[in-house]
């Protein structure tokens, strides 16, 4: 059955958190409650939290927002989470989720979408590459705080 993409609802949150915990092996219920408060409940302040549902089950989710003028960069759509239940992969669910959030960004007049990934996460890197994303003119930097 083809998954339908829609805005997240409060009742989806347990399944979203379970998908994340299955993939990351790190349950974080407090985090998901906070994300729902900030991004849930439909289009909110240029923020998106969408889920893919098939046969009453949540198969995946995507979260992102519009970001403006970070270090002088014009507004862009920023995707910071996308996950598909391992058993539901290779069926186009991730592509549909990404298409849906990009459509949301387009409606807000955004013409560029970005994300940031761990370079050893080959699975998700390959997914974004297969969707046409290329290296952006930015370099992520970090430092260990002492």
């Amino acid at each position: 059955m083809k998954a339908r993409v829609r805005n997240v609802r409060a009742g989806d949150l347990a399944q979203v958190a379970a998908i994340d915990a299955e993939i990351t092996r790190l349950p974080k219920p407090g985090y998901w409650a906070g994300i729902y408060r900030r991004y849930g409940g439909g289009r909110r302040q240029q923020r998106f939290f969408l889920v893919a549902e098939a046969a009453g089950r949540i198969e995946g989710f995507v979260i992102g927002e519009v970001r403006d003028w970070e270090f002088g960069s014009p507004r862009c759509g920023w995707v910071f989470a996308i996950s598909v239940r391992p058993g539901a992969r290779l069926a186009g669910v991730g592509s549909r989720l990404l298409e849906a959030i990009c459509e949301g960004f387009r409606r807000l007049g955004v013409g560029k979408v970005r994300t940031m990934l761990a370079r050893d996460n080959q699975l998700i890197l390959s997914f974004f590459r297969s969707q046409g994303l290329m290296a952006a003119p930015f370099i992520p930097l970090e430092i260990d705080l002492e």
Partner: protein, 139 residues
């Protein structure tokens, strides 16, 4: 970053064969298209065939056919058959023993660049590169 000739020839061959998976391409055909030596290319194709990336079809009209999974085979998989990206830089023994700070710092920066290059090459499948070529053709 510069790839060795063999590696480039291998990538040409893989992309050519993967873009026409139903066809058998001869080494001469690919060599002609890219202006390279058929003899040189035959060796490259032999390595690709041994790795199961292409299969050799004998007989009249024989040649090489793509045998991999274009969605799973990455640029890094092909490159690794011919060269090693980011092999550790070797300073002289005396300098290594002295642990010169400049050398260590430079090595860590160069290693950072290698890691980014490897991650990029590992993230791009043959299917993704074919899609990219198609998009660039349409522009």
């Amino acid at each position: 970053m510069k790839l060795q000739k063999n590696t480039l020839f291998a990538l040409y061959s893989v992309l050519e064969s993967a873009s026409h998976p139903e066809r058998q391409l001869s080494a001469a055909e690919i060599a002609r298209k890219y202006g390279i030596s058929p003899h040189h290319l035959a060796k490259v194709l032999h390595t690709l065939a041994r790795a199961g990336v292409v299969e050799s079809v004998r007989g009249v009209g024989g040649g090489y056919r793509f045998a991999g999974n274009a969605k799973r085979l990455t640029l890094m998989d092909v490159i690794a058959l011919f060269e090693s990206i980011g092999a550790p830089a070797r300073g002289s023994r005396r300098r290594q023993a002295a642990g010169i700070a400049v050398e260590r710092a430079l090595e860590s920066v160069l290693a950072e660049i290698d890691e980014i290059a490897k991650a990029t090459l590992r993230s791009i499948s043959i299917a993704t590169l074919l899609k990219l070529m198609e998009r660039q053709r349409r522009r």
